[in-house]
């Protein structure tokens, strides 16, 4: 139903969403409305309340429930287009907006207490670890930013003057944020300020404030009440993203109050002056950045989001962080010394001797592991069979660059430049861009920095570009395709990049290339920018390398032509895969189909890499495919020159690479390419993982004599730790549970003072035998109601056995040998780990190498 009402276009619809127009669909709707200059309003015909479609807050407060009839009115310069887009959105997209969001998966284990601590009756509270690590310190509580209720009591003297005061405050706050945004280096911070600005400019927020003042309330009281109203609405959304916005509302309200009353309503920056654990309901990124990181040992948050800005920041800064710790502020009192175990996912709130002993051992284990197989933070990654692979970082902000270089990035494989374009209502100037790029070039100290020219359009809408809303933005007007229309922007960026090239090894990369013509055109643009700089006498690197992202499949079929024009290539696997398989990875219904391990996709990648190498050119990979440790055998097998990964991943990726063999990788890749089903592919990857550590059954690192473990729990932990230190397991918790599971059936103690704990588990990377000889015999549980004391513990851990496994034969031989008294006597008599390992190897006829 379409009609012209007065001067506006109008259509009506019935809300089919079972939970009504709650925050998530509302945010989509507002996004759609904000693509147009036209004003658009929604009227809930049941209640008569009208909301601006451009305000999420307003749409939510219109309280549209399931079955409500609503009218939408559109009025303005581009009303035809806006009307069509909104109607289409409401009819086709909105009903699907209720699909449950993909859950936020915490990075690490969430809460099983190790047996030792369980049996010691330790006090603790669980949470989800989002940045792994262990921190110990005194608790400092951040009381949050709750709005001061004292202001509610103020009575208004004069509504018009209160209104004027409020308007002044709003304008001042907006101006201040705008000011900050203009002088910003860090894009992480910019994103936060951008969100604040959106709230300060929200039309219905302003309307609510005005409404309260009109009712005779003071400006301050109105701010508090309007704030609480919206915060309450947002907090109850089931959308993570929208709940985060409650923080922004709070932040803006506090700034308004400060503006009006000149008092600092924000909790003052916390002074930390000893090792501290900061406990808070939640944290604004500004607060986190205000903390002294020398003393900040861990963060404990009640709020459960793993994607809040502060959590993302904490992760990139490597601060051990637990989220979702219920009533943390109530149960973890200030001043108390606690340990945050953000490896296992809990806070120990009382440091008993048992806890101290556990973490003392834990620290030693972590240090030994580091010594035995250090995370590699410098030098190139070299595979076990001697192939070098450059590991670069993907970055888009100053903070990420810092972490990347600290972590030993060999370069920046992808520097995204969109952030500067998205954080303001005007494009960044050449000077602003030059500042960013030259800083990156200098920070890289001679390492390669690949700067990608702006990829705007598509899903990245920019207010100052008049880009049309598209039915299919990913197949639309984005990347290189908009450069002809926005030549001025492109020239400014190219000049900024070229100028920065005088300060380091900069390379230019262009996104969304599908044809040779686009490349030639882009190269002309670079020539033009160079001429411009030459005229002005500004220096730059003349032969700056030029390359493209390979993300449109067509580019992969004209490589002979492209190679003759370009210096390098980078595989943007996210888009390449989505275009190749015609499956949107963000669409839960087809996520399954969007699979970088599809044999067709792997064949395509292989073909691309081979062809580029035949032409003698360089090819890297900067998509998410590169960041997964599991995929590394494949990437090595592909023969890439570089992979570019998230900055925090670099040391782990380099370490894993050093254990891989390029030859094995090539075999795995070929097997996968020939695979006919998904399961086979997964199995191949699993096997590659195990192959990665073609380790012998036994090594001297797995033998420990003179153990001081005092009970079964400690001994088990020590065994698992030894496996971890020797690189036999990455998942201690799972290995330990597997061993205990077996003990639950009945104790693995046997007479003669031996115990043979064992398990089948994928938690070990290789079949392994561990030996622990105790200084003092310990109880190993009851065997047929009688306690068994053991002195020698031989642990067997095998992966799910393939048939006719040689390792199993060795293990059965070992078990049979334990029946042999001479063998046992010898084991008990051996004095050092090396002799023990050698003797066992002889007896079992196995090699230690």
């Amino acid at each position: 139903m379409t009609q012209r009402v007065g001067t506006s276009l109008e259509f009506a619809f019935t809300c089919s969403l079972s939970d009504g127009l709650h925050a998530r669909p509302a945010s989509h709707l507002a996004e759609a409305a904000n693509d147009f200059a036209s004003e658009s309003f929604l009227t809930n015909l049941r209640t008569g309340s009208t909301a601006s479609l451009k305000s999420v807050l307003a749409i939510i407060s219109a309280d549209v429930r399931h079955g409500d009839r609503c009218a939408v009115q559109v009025r303005g310069t581009d009303e035809q287009a806006a009307f069509a887009a909104l109607q289409r959105f409401v009819e086709q997209v909105l009903p699907g907006c209720d699909v449950p969001l993909a859950g936020v998966s915490p990075a690490a284990g969430s809460g099983t207490l190790p047996r030792i601590l369980q049996s010691a009756g330790v006090k603790f509270c669980f949470g989800s670890a989002v940045t792994a690590g262990i921190g110990q310190g005194k608790v400092v509580q951040l009381t949050g930013m709750a709005l001061p209720t004292s202001l509610s009591a103020r009575t208004a003297i004069d509504s018009p003057s209160e209104l004027a005061q409020m308007k002044r405050a709003l304008a001042a706050v907006r101006a201040r944020i705008g000011e900050k945004l203009a002088h910003l280096q860090s894009s992480t911070e910019a994103a936060v300020l951008q969100a604040d600005l959106a709230i300060a400019s929200d039309v219905s927020f302003a309307a609510k404030l005005t409404e309260h003042i009109a009712q005779g309330k003071s400006a301050g009281q109105s701010v508090v009440e309007a704030g609480e109203f919206f915060i309450d609405l947002l907090r109850h959304s089931e959308s993570e993203y929208i709940r985060e916005r409650a923080l922004d509302v709070e932040e803006i309200c506090l700034q308004l109050l400060e503006e009006m009353y000149g008092r600092d309503f924000q909790s003052a920056a916390l002074e930390l002056n000893e090792p501290s654990i900061v406990v808070a309901e939640t944290l604004a990124p500004q607060q986190l950045l205000g903390l002294d990181r020398r003393w900040l040992k861990a963060l404990v948050l009640e709020y459960s989001g793993a994607t809040s800005h502060a959590v993302i920041l904490a992760r990139s800064l490597g601060i051990p962080t637990l989220v979702g710790v219920k009533s943390a502020r109530a149960v973890i009192p200030p001043g108390q010394e606690v340990i945050v175990d953000a490896v296992r996912g809990f806070v120990v709130t009382e440091l008993t001797p048992a806890v101290e002993r556990f973490y003392e051992r834990e620290r030693k284990t972590l240090a030994s592991r580091q010594d035995f197989s250090p995370l590699q933070t410098s030098g190139p990654a070299i595979t076990a069979d001697g192939r070098t692979l450059e590991v670069g970082a993907n970055a888009s902000s100053h903070d990420e660059l810092t972490v990347a270089f600290e972590n030993g990035a060999d370069g920046i494989g992808l520097f995204r430049t969109e952030m500067a374009f998205l954080q303001s209502d005007r494009p960044p100037s050449e000077e602003e861009q030059f500042a960013i790029y030259s800083e990156a070039a200098r920070g890289a100290k001679g390492r390669r920095v690949i700067i990608r020219t702006f990829d705007l359009g598509g899903d990245k809408a920019v207010p100052y570009l008049d880009l049309p809303a598209e039915d299919n933005p990913f197949l639309g007007y984005r990347g290189v395709r908009i450069y002809a229309e926005y030549r001025g922007l492109l020239q400014a960026q190219l000049r900024a990049i070229l100028r920065a090239s005088a300060f380091g090894q900069i390379q230019i990369m262009v996104p969304m290339i599908s044809s040779l013509e686009e490349v030639l055109q882009f190269k002309n643009e670079i020539e033009e920018a160079k001429r411009d700089l030459e005229r002005k006498g500004i220096s730059f690197q003349q032969d700056i390398p030029i390359g493209i992202m390979i993300e449109i499949p067509s580019a992969g079929f004209i490589l002979d032509q492209l190679c003759s024009e370009l210096d390098f290539f980078s595989l943007g696997t996210n888009d390449l895969n989505q275009y190749f398989l015609a499956a949107d990875r963000d669409n839960p219904k087809v996520t399954e189909l969007s699979n970088v391990l599809h044999p067709g996709f792997l064949r395509f990648l292989k073909q691309i890499v081979e062809e580029i190498h035949r032409a003698g050119k360089w090819v890297g990979m900067c998509g998410e495919m590169a960041g997964e440790i599991r995929h590394l055998p494949l990437l090595v097998g592909l023969g890439l020159d570089e992979i570019s990964v998230p900055p925090s991943q670099i040391p782990a990726v380099k370490r894993a690479l050093s254990q891989l063999s390029a030859a094995d990788g090539k075999r795995v890749l070929d097997d996968m390419i020939a695979s006919r089903d998904k399961l086979a592919i997964e199995n191949l990857l699993d096997r590659a993982q195990a192959m990665q550590s073609a380790q012998p059954l036994l090594s001297k690192e797995l033998v420990r004599l003179g153990s001081e473990s005092k009970n079964k729990e400690e001994a088990m932990q020590e065994i698992v730790d030894a496996f971890y230190i020797a690189g036999r397991t990455e998942d201690r918790q799972r290995l330990e549970e597997a061993l205990w599971l077996r003990e639950a059936a009945y104790s693995t103690g046997v007479d003669y003072g031996f115990a043979i704990p064992h398990c089948k588990t994928e938690a070990v990377v290789a079949d392994s035998v561990g030996v622990l000889k105790l200084s003092q015999p310990i109880d190993w549980g009851l065997v047929r109601d009688k306690p068994v004391k053991v002195k020698m513990i031989i642990t067997l851990a095998v992966r799910e056995p393939q048939s006719a496994n040689r390792h199993l034969q060795v293990l059965s031989k070992l078990c049979r040998k334990i029946e042999d008294e001479e063998f046992r006597e010898h084991l008990l008599a051996v004095e050092n780990a090396h002799d023990m390992a050698t003797y066992l190897a002889e007896q079992l006829e196995i090699s230690l190498h």
């Binding site: 693995t748 089948k760 065997v783 095998v798 199993l808 034969q809 031989k813």
Partner: protein
């Protein structure tokens, strides 16, 4: 006495083999002739043949899980004990046989 035996435990990587070794050792000291089949992670090993079973006066199952190919033992006198018993007190198993 001619004895056949089967050992089997759920994981099948340790106790199955220890128990087999233990039964063999004790049987030997008692002067019995024993053949022990292991049913472990590597499948059936040292498999008892039809002939082995026919000649045996008794079969010992020291098992915590079901014996595979149980039908082979139809018509044979079977003593079944938890596997643990073979490790903890093998003599008592043989004592039961004597009775």
């Amino acid at each position: 006495m001619k004895i056949v035996a089967v050992t089997a435990c759920p994981t099948g990587i340790a106790h199955t083999y220890m128990a087999a070794a233990r039964l063999e050792k004790v049987a030997k000291t008692l002067g019995h002739d024993i053949k022990v089949e292991t049913q472990g992670a590597m499948g059936i090993e040292n498999k008892l043949t039809e002939n082995d079973i026919r000649q045996a006066q008794i079969a010992i199952f020291a098992v915590d899980i079901a014996v595979e190919e149980r039908e082979r033992f139809n018509g044979v006198k079977v003593i079944q004990v938890p596997l643990q018993e073979a490790l903890k007190d093998p003599h008592s198993i043989f004592a039961k046989i004597q009775r």
